[in-house]
Each structure stands twice: as C-alpha cells, then as structure tokens.
C-alpha cells in the first residue's frame, strides 16, 4: 500500500498532486496530518507543502476546466469526507488525461460525485448563514458560535463582511476550534486559548453580555413563538428543515432558565 501524508491544507493537497505527476506514482491512501507529528504510517511518503507547486497545479486545472468546476473541487475538499482527497485526485487525473473537456459529463462517476459533494458543502455553508445567531457583548462585539458538519467557515466570511460591515464580530467553529474576528476593516483568523464561551450552548457569559442583549433574545423568542400557526403544526417537517444538530446554538430553540 502506497500511503501519502500531507498537512491537511488545500495547498498541501495540490502539492501532493504535483508530486504525483513529478514522480509518476499515485497513492492508494492519502492521510492528513494536521499536527505535523512524526508519521505513524510505516513506509509512507510525506508531502512538503510548496506554494509554487500548488499554484502550478491550480493554474493547470483552470486551463482544463472552468472556474466553477475548480471551485467545486475546493468545496469537495472542505467536506473532509473520508477519502475525499483520493476522489479529487481521481477527478483531476481524468481531467488532465482526457483530450477534451469532460467537466460536464455527469455520466462519469467522479464528476457526478464532485457535483454532489459540492452541493452538500454549499448547503452546509448556506445553513451557517441561516442559523448563525450573534450575541452582543459589553464591548460591542457581536459573537457567534457554530459547529458545522463540514469545514465551511472560510466560505461564509465574505457574506458576513458584506452584511455586517459596521459592527465588530466574531464567528467561531467550535468543532475545529478556530474562528474569524472582524474589526470593521479586516477579518483575521484566530484561535481561542481560554474558555470564554460555553461550548455546549455557544452563549457568552452573562457578565460579558451587553445590557439589552437579553431583552432582544427574549423578544426574538417570543416573536418566534407567536409566528407559529397551531392549525398547521408539523413537527416532522420542522425537524427536517431545522435539523436538531443546529438547535444548541439557536436563540429561539433555547429554553428559558
């Protein structure tokens, strides 16, 4: 078995692709190794991320397929689904080795799979845009936690920057333990080192909450309740549209203490 290890970054993965073609060897297994620990896989090949090599692969892809198909690959990568790297590698090989552009051949297994994965990931990103709830802190920063299935945070920052341009905010992925802070000009990636937030509810400590924050949470909860038409109640559908895994961070789904 031919095992290759890379650092989990998209650039690292593209470097891996470069090396495949350079050595003309293709891996059977691709493993991410986020923490740069010494490899636990014997006889594995370690990829060293190289920006130039990654760029060359990325540019090469853009020559073969459209921009939106390249985006698809990136989205699929963010899914972190088991063996997704191998899938993408397969796709890239088919694209590079075909004399004609085959990105629209959805009869092809890998091409259709990529489309489906893209759908899953963009849907999850969309859900983050839907179900993010900010809480205002005493220092006027709006804070939100979430816990998405796929690593979609990078896909949402643009949206938040455009929408909430005149307020400071933090969005934080509690599963992957990183977030972005927007200071009215730029957003920068960061990592919490202390436990300033409740991991289970995403709520910030009452002492840090802005004075009127609780009132607005109450207002929102009571609004949410009043909107329901009891003649039409449909719990199954409700659950389907608002999956339970999001409830813990949704103000309107939190019980009043």
């Amino acid at each position: 078995m031919n095992t290759w290890i890379y650092d989990n970054s998209f650039e690292g993965f593209l470097t891996l692709v470069f090396n495949c073609y350079e050595l003309n060897i293709f891996p059977d297994i691709i493993k991410g190794n986020r923490n740069n620990q010494p490899s636990i896989f014997p006889e594995s090949y370690e990829v060293i991320t190289d920006e130039t090599k990654a760029k060359r692969v990325w540019n090469g892809l853009h020559k073969k397929i459209s921009n939106s198909s390249c985006q698809l690959l990136y989205h699929a990568f963010l899914s972190e689904i088991c063996d997704v790297e191998l899938m993408i590698l397969h796709y890239i090989r088919e694209v590079f080795e075909s004399p004609i552009n085959i990105e629209l051949n959805f009869g092809n297994h890998y091409i259709l799979e990529m489309l489906k994965m893209d759908k899953k990931v963009t849907r999850e990103a969309q859900r983050v845009l839907m179900f993010t709830r900010f809480q205002k802190t005493t220092d006027e920063i709006y804070y939100a936690s979430f816990d998405p299935k796929y690593n979609v945070l990078p896909l949402t920052i643009n949206h938040f920057e455009n929408r909430f341009a005149d307020q400071k905010w933090i969005v934080y992925d509690t599963r992957r333990n990183y977030g972005f802070y927007y200071d009215l000009i730029n957003s920068t990636e960061f990592r919490f080192t202390e436990n300033t937030i409740n991991r289970n509810t995403g709520t910030i400590d009452k002492s840090m909450m802005a004075e009127d924050e609780q009132l607005f949470q109450e207002l929102w909860k009571s609004y949410f309740k009043s909107m329901c038409i009891k003649e039409r109640i449909n719990p199954k559908l409700h659950m389907q549209l608002l999956p339970k895994r999001f409830w813990k961070y949704l103000t309107e789904k939190q019980n009043n203490e």
């Binding site: 259709l112 207002l219 009043s226 038409i229 559908l237 549209l241 608002l242």
Partner: protein
C-alpha cells in the same frame, strides 16, 4: 427598548402570521458606505416555525386596530381582541437589532387600517424611510400596501421598499365584496397598477441615468385565500397566470383558508385548512413559472380542479399518455422536463451529459431522476419497462399512489423552495 415591547410584539406578530409571503428574494441591494445589511438575491431563511414555514423576515403589523370588517380576518373591527400598536421608532429599532443578530433578512410590515388608508400607508412608509435614511440600512423591506391608498403614497413607499404587495385575497370580485364589504377590486388594482407603472418607468429611467434610486427592485406580489369561497382551481390559476403576464408580479401566494371567525355564516364550515389543495396550487404555479406549462394544460373547463391524490405534473402526464414514452437520449429539454420524476436539475444534467455518450437508467438514477415514476414515461439506452400506454393511465395512477409515502399525502406547506413536482 422596554420590556413592554415584548407584549406588543407578541400581539402584532401573532396578528401578521397568516400573511404567507415570507420570501426575501429578488432584490440585490448591496451594502453602501459601510452601512448595515444587504439583500441576498435568492433570499435566506433564518429559522422555521413549528408548522414548517420559513422565517426570514420580521413579519409584523404596525397595529391591529382596524376600521374594516373583513370576514376572514382575525383583526376585523367586530372581533373583541386585544389591540395595540408599535411606534415608528420601536419598529426601526426592532428591525435593526434583529438584523444585527442575524435573526432576519429584513422587515415585512403590514397594518390594520386606522383613520384612513393614506394615514396608515404614510406611517408605514416612514418606517422604511427612517431605516434607509437615518440608519443606513440596506437589508430587505417589504411593505404591504393598504387597499385604497393613493398612488402618490404608493410611489413614495416604492422608493424605500424592496417589495410592495397588494393582497387580492379573494379570487373573484363578487365574493370579495361579500366577505370584505369595504374593499373592491378598484381599491386593489389601482395601487397594483401604479406599482407596475412605477417599475416600468424606473426601468426606462435607469437606462438613461445610472444613479437613479431603485423602485421596488424585488417587484410586487399578492396573496389569494384558498377555500373560503367556491372558486375553482382553474379560476385561481388563470388569475395568477394573468397577473404574472400582465402585471409582471413576482409571486402569487396561496393561503389555505384557516377558519378563524367560525360563527360567520358567509364562510364555509371547515375544521382544518385545505393544505393539500394549497400545496397542489403551489406545485402548479411552479410548473407555470419554471416548466413552461400553460394553465389550460393543468386545469381547464373539463378538468376545473386539481387532483388532490397526485401532483399536477403526474396528473398531466396521465391525462396525456400519447406524448410518452420520451427518449432521454434524443428529446429536447422542454419535453424531458415533462416527464414525472425528472426535475429541472436532473433535466439539465441529462442534457449536459448526453453529448459524451448514451445515458443509461443507472446513470439517470444517480443524477437524481426518480426512476420509480419516470420509468413508465421514458426510453433510454436499455430500459425496458412497460410504458404508461401498456399499463393504462388509470392503473398506473393506482400503482404510483400506493408507492407514495403517507406523510406526503397528508401535509406539505406551500412556500418551500424545494418542490416535489419532479
């Protein structure tokens, strides 16, 4: 903001909940000068109520005081209910604060009629104006026009709102007059026409001057109450299709009549709202807007009402078996779209892929075609199912109905984006 607003909001949100329009789509207002908010073109839902309807806007009434007495309305003058009003400032603050917390995409404001239609309309317009001009707010605003409001006021409102709606409510004028004595079609169509006119003129003006402010960029919509009067689906869908064509409405919403004023003898005695019929109307509306169906292909004089057992596309196919089977590898896009079990998405995938070789039934399934239905209406590379003609439409209907999951037969609210008309 004070605690007492909670109570007011409870009453006025409760009073507005029957208005079905919730979508915030169709506007692409961008955030200017680092203000707050923008409007995403396809709209974003932010939550879902327990009845499964999307919450994307702060949908609220300015007041539930009303001088009119519409039979179907909870807020009518003759009902003894708790009345209250939110001030212009309270409404703007609520909108901004909810928006900043990402609870909503914007505001949908309606109101009972107080003093006069014009008085009410101008108060609503002030909310929109303050949001835009004092708070640099670029999020979505939908105002429900008050029937009878003057064209000048409607024009003003249109400069600040993304969408204006004038609800027709009852599909025929005679029935409207019976149920809402203070309203008539003139009071509804006059504002509707001036919005339409305003949109057309704005389009012309923007061609000449780029910087001109947009006038209701998300267009106008209306709502029809279904099942409060004996109007047929044929009548309802013809009205809707007319509105799409001649008034260029963006959306017609169908709202299954909910018996609120149960002792009013002008209204039918029903216990549960006609949800299945409502859903069939939405599906038909969808077919008209995205599948290029004509109304009389869905309902007509011979077949005036929608089949409640099966969706309108399947119903159409079973009434027109002569069209089938359709060859997946040759037929044009429009015909492929008419196959039960094939939606817009899979139809596109089929068209894109078949230039690379013939498509077989396994691939169709992978592309999202519901083969359980589609198989009787198509031929592809190797599939050899009996077709609708061999089985006979009436037998096939029974067969397919048996396969429908129970839940889908009972309830399905109308305003979802993901429609099961494939």
């Amino acid at each position: 903001m004070k605690e007492e607003v909670i109570k007011k909001l409870e009453i006025l949100a409760g009073a507005a909940k029957y208005d079905v329009s919730c979508s915030s789509s169709g506007s692409n207002r961008s955030n200017t000068n680092k203000g707050i908010g923008n409007a995403a073109y396809c709209g974003i839902c932010h939550s879902f109520t327990e009845d499964g309807r999307c919450v994307s806007l702060l949908k609220v009434m300015m007041t539930n005081y009303c001088m009119y007495d519409c039979a179907y309305c909870a807020n009518r003058k003759s009902n003894d209910i708790e009345r209250t009003a939110l001030s212009v400032d309270e409404l703007t603050e609520l909108t901004i604060s909810f928006y900043r917390r990402n609870y909503i995409e914007g505001l949908f404001l309606s109101s009972g009629v107080v003093k006069s239609p014009d008085h009410t309309m101008s108060l609503m317009t002030r909310v929109a104006k303050n949001l835009r001009t004092l708070h640099n707010y670029n999020g979505y605003i939908h105002l429900k026009s008050i029937p009878g409001a003057s064209p000048e006021l409607i024009r003003q409102a249109g400069l600040y709102a993304d969408r204006l709606s004038v609800n027709i409510e009852i599909p025929t004028e005679a029935n409207l007059k019976l149920l809402a004595p203070e309203k008539d079609y003139t009071s509804i169509y006059t504002p509707m026409n001036s919005i339409h006119q305003g949109i057309l003129e704005n389009k012309e003006d923007t061609k000449k001057i780029r910087s001109i402010p947009k006038f209701v960029p998300a267009g106008q919509s209306t709502q029809l109450i279904i099942g409060a009067t004996p109007d047929t689906d044929n009548h309802i869908l013809s009205l809707a299709s007319n509105l799409y064509q001649h008034q260029q409405l963006k959306r017609v919403y169908y709202s299954g009549y909910i018996p609120i004023n149960t002792n009013d003898s002008r209204l039918p005695a029903i216990i549960t709202p006609p949800l299945v019929r409502e859903n069939r109307l939405y599906q038909s509306d969808w077919l008209i807007r995205f599948y290029s169906f004509k109304v009389d292909e869905i309902v007509n004089e011979k077949h005036p009402n929608l089949d409640l057992d099966i969706d309108p596309k399947l119903s159409y196919a079973l009434r027109n078996p002569w069209m089938f089977p359709i060859d997946i590898n040759k037929a044009p896009y429009e015909l492929i779209l008419r196959v039960p079990g094939i939606g817009v998405n899979s139809a596109r995938l089929i068209i894109a892929s078949r230039q690379f070789g013939k498509i077989n039934s396994y691939q169709l399934q992978k592309m999202g075609v519901v083969m359980k239905r589609a198989r009787y209406f198509i031929t592809c590379n190797e599939l050899s199912s009996p077709t609708v003609n061999e089985i006979k439409p009436e037998n096939l209907k029974l067969l397919l109905m048996k396969q429908l999951p129970k839940a889908k037969k009972v309830k399905y609210p109308g305003q979802l984006k993901l429609f099961d008309v494939a």
